[in-house]
């Protein structure tokens, strides 16, 4: 029966090519627009560490000594608080991070010096965030302790400097210090670059920068403080720093701490630990707002920072309003199409077809239009994504159509057209056969 309905639908669609084309175009354009924005949205709002994002947390304390309470603690921590919490090793894994820029050269490589982004972090960073290695590996806790002059470099930098060869053991010059490469990452581009996310609420929705590529060089935290002294930028300061070169004791926040907590009980006890730490610091006279602490989960922290750029969210809403208009359009046209065939439907009903059969036949026709519209929508989506990729935005290179979104395109197209078809099909199946036969 289904095959027969498809045959009927196909004949019907071919009979009135203009009307069919109008409907298919309307669906295709609506689907193309909404799938383009939805794909971008899907990529930007995804989980950057799908394997264990549920166990990653972001503690915050408020070191600001000014008596007026701020609504939220600063987005990152001062050096001392971060170091104290990190040193306590109360979580399953913990990593301090801060990013800075420095001059990088590679001896024996004939390239002009370049400015590279360096991530200062600690040994747990790599296992904690599932960072994939191409060659070598990360450093150990011992290296952190010894301020070892070692570095892990990104796949991009390895390609640029060493043409992708195994560069483990070679030397890089970071500013004026030599470091030994001990690991090369495989291509790694979490979306967003979550561990550097901070300050999203001050960005007026312009958060595309959170989707830039990870740093080129990863260096043990204490080593990097020596190597790039003066090169670190504070996130903000609550009073003017006395020594702009060494931020360790400055009234500034510039270090973030990430922790991994494998169970709900550990999350609870870590939350208490952070609160206790703040209370203790208040007793020592360093903190004023001891109750202003936070322990957000990774996804909670991303939400708090509204990482998806507001323009992208606006585009998504716009696209769905547009799809809705296209749907209304299709409903109207389908109605016209089905009611025009009143005579034919009358004959079928008189020959014994039930209302349900007529309804099913009409829906199959609507579904077929949806399938055609989905195919057109897919082409338009690919075109739309190509347009997004050609824009000079940080996440342009990330944008692609994956299998989920490919299937979603057709699912959305068919669902939309079936939805549009329900009302006209109902109307068509409700027609009185005798009345229609008389007019034949």
């Amino acid at each position: 029966m289904f095959g027969y309905y498809i045959d009927l639908a196909w004949r019907s669609l071919r009979r009135n090519k203009v009307l069919t084309a109008l409907m298919v175009i309307a669906i295709a354009v609506g689907i193309g627009a909404s799938m383009t924005t939805l794909t971008v949205m899907h990529l930007l709002s995804g989980d950057p560490v799908p394997t264990r994002s549920g166990t990653l947390f972001y503690p915050q304390v408020d070191p600001d000594p000014s008596p007026t309470a701020s609504h939220q603690p600063y987005d990152v921590m001062d050096y001392r608080s971060a170091l104290d919490l990190w040193n306590a090793h109360r979580a399953d894994r913990q990593a301090m991070v801060t990013s800075s820029q420095l001059r990088l050269t590679a001896p024996q490589v004939n390239l002009p010096p370049l400015m590279a982004q360096m991530l200062s972090t600690t040994s747990d960073f790599f296992p904690m965030f599932d960072v994939p290695f191409r060659y070598g590996g990360g450093w150990t806790a011992q290296d952190d302790e010894n301020r070892a002059r070692v570095a892990v470099i990104s796949s991009d930098l390895n390609n640029k400097l060493f043409n992708g060869a195994d560069s483990v053991g070679r030397t890089l010059r970071l500013k004026d210090a030599d470091v030994r490469i001990i690991g090369v990452l495989a291509p790694w581009w979490p979306s967003p670059q979550f561990y550097d996310v901070a300050g999203g609420r001050f960005s007026n929705g312009d958060t595309a920068g959170f989707y830039s590529r990870p740093e080129d060089v990863f260096v043990p935290f204490q080593s990097s403080l020596e190597i790039n002294a003066g090169g670190f930028q504070p996130f903000t300061c609550w009073s003017m720093p006395g020594d702009p070169v060494h931020l360790q004791n400055s009234p500034c926040v510039w270090v973030a701490l990430w922790v991994q907590l494998d169970s709900a009980a550990k999350v609870g006890s870590y939350r208490r630990f952070v609160a206790d730490y703040a209370t203790q610091q208040k007793a020592l006279g360093r903190f004023v707002h001891a109750d202003n602490t936070q322990l957000r989960s990774l996804m909670g922290w991303l939400d708090f920072n509204q990482v998806v750029p507001s323009d992208v969210r606006l585009q998504t809403w716009l696209a769905f309003a547009f799809l809705l208009i296209c749907l209304f359009n299709t409903v109207g046209l389908l109605l016209a199409k089905f009611l025009r065939r009143a005579g034919e439907i009358g004959v079928r009903r008189a020959l014994g077809a039930s209302r349900a059969a007529v309804f099913a036949q009409c829906l199959v026709e609507a579904g077929l239009i949806g399938l055609l519209g989905g195919a057109g929508g897919l082409l338009l989506t690919l075109f739309g994504l190509w347009l997004v990729r050609s824009q000079p935005i940080e996440y342009a290179d990330l944008v692609h159509l994956d299998t989920t979104m490919f299937l979603a395109t057709f699912a959305l197209a068919i669902a939309a057209s079936l939805l549009a078809g329900v009302l006209p099909a109902l109307r068509a199946s409700r027609m009185t056969p005798s009345l229609q036969l008389k007019t034949l």
Binding site: D206, S239, A321, R340
Partner: protein
């Protein structure tokens, strides 16, 4: 033309009428708000920087030894001044639409009790004030004695020039000349008021704070190094900038030129607003597609109705109705439907605007967008229905005597 029979006929096709009305209502709501968003974006991109954009370029060096800033300044200022076509070269910490380097909160009292907002400090060396081409509307211009050495960030106690927008924000209605403000231990006294000076970014308060800028004269030194303002004849500026960028390799081989930040102010401005222009382009595309789809919907439905009513049209023609009567019938019908849609659409437009206001810091939709949107949709409806209506008018009276 009688409206009564048209309404009666529409009542027979209630479902289709409601559908097309809803479609037009949605289109009206999206159209009004999208137009408003476009105008908003375009207005943002037209912010007045207050400087001679087409005569200025920025040059930024990174990666140098910070203890050798004085030496670097001397080499660069000296070396670039010799380049043919360079009218002036001066040290500055930041330029409009460039990377920001001097953002700080200020207070209007020395104890730091009365917060005045987060502003941007343009710390400029000798020559930079004249090179920027900012317009002084009150007070004096900086004298050589105003340029003081910097220990850290800005001179400890300096005469400064604030924009009119910032003066109005800090001291509404009062004469800003001689007024003081502080940031930490640093003390500032207003010596002049500038017509305009846009800061690198809009700041925390959004686009309304784009002109909260302060110009601080200072001596180049370790704390004011590595960013330079180059002024040249607008016609020669691209060439002069290219030469200057090239010359940096020999003048300052110890530093790395930041090529993204070393551009003409015009280019920096273009890059800064690129996202807004792209968004405006997308919105224009959406509006076009929207109007097209709506028009197609009207064409489709009107064609169907014309075909359905062929006999009735024939009968009307046989009874003496002219072609014009039939044409006007369909045009009036469309006008009525579009009007219903617009009435509903205006309410929807306001609801949508309210939602946008809460999520995107948009102002309220000005009322004059509604009649413009209405006119556009009426015109679109009439245009779309013209084809089917003409076909209806062409139905010969003889159809009445035939069975369909």
């Amino acid at each position: 033309m009688q409206i009564q029979p048209i309404l009666a006929a529409l009542r027979k096709h209630r479902l289709a009428t409601i559908l097309i009305t809803l479609e037009i209502a949605l289109a009206c709501a999206v159209l009004c708000n999208a137009c408003f968003l476009i105008v908003n974006r375009v207005q943002q991109t037209q912010v007045v920087s207050g400087v001679d954009e087409n005569a200025l370029a920025a040059l930024k060096l990174t990666g140098y030894d910070p203890t050798r800033g004085v030496d670097l300044n001397a080499r660069v200022l000296d070396g670039l001044a010799k380049l043919p076509g360079v009218q002036s070269i001066s040290a500055i910490n930041q330029v409009p639409f460039g990377d920001h380097a001097g953002t700080a909160g200020i207070t209007t009292d020395p104890d730091g009790k009365h917060f005045g907002g987060v502003v941007d400090f343009f710390v400029g060396g000798p020559g930079s004030f004249k090179a920027l081409g900012v317009q002084v509307v009150a007070g004096r211009v900086p004298q050589p004695g105003d340029y003081q050495p910097v220990d850290f960030f800005v001179p400890d106690d300096s005469a400064v020039w604030v924009t009119r927008a910032l003066a109005e924000h800090l001291w509404p209605g009062a004469d800003p000349l001689g007024k003081e403000f502080w940031t930490g231990k640093f003390h500032f006294r207003v010596a002049g008021v500038l017509a305009h000076l846009a800061r690198p970014y809009g700041g925390e308060g959004g686009p309304s704070t784009i002109e909260w800028s302060v110009y601080v004269p200072a001596q180049p030194g370790a704390q004011l190094a590595a960013v330079y303002l180059l002024r040249a004849d607008p016609a020669q500026l691209p060439r002069v900038l290219r030469d200057a960028r090239g010359a940096m390799a020999t003048i300052a081989p110890d530093a790395v030129l930041d090529s993204k930040a070393s551009q003409t102010i015009g280019t920096l401005r273009e890059n800064y607003f690129r996202q807004d222009r792209v968004m405006a382009g997308i919105l224009v595309g959406v509006i076009t597609a929207l109007l097209l789809v709506t028009a197609l919907g009207i064409v489709g439905l009107a064609s169907f109705w014309v075909q359905q009513r062929r006999r009735q049209i024939g009968i009307r023609r046989a009874l003496g109705a002219t072609r014009g009567d039939i044409l006007r019938y369909f045009q009036t019908e469309n006008f009525l439907i579009v009007t219903f849609g617009i009435v509903l659409g205006m309410l929807l437009a306001f609801a949508l605007n309210l939602a946008l206001m809460t999520h995107y810091e948009l102002p309220r939709l000005p009322l004059y967008y509604l009649p413009i949107g209405a006119l556009l949709l009426w015109a679109l409806g009439q245009l779309a229905v013209l084809g089917p209506a003409l076909r209806a008018a062409a139905v010969p009276p003889v159809v009445a005597t035939r069975s369909v």
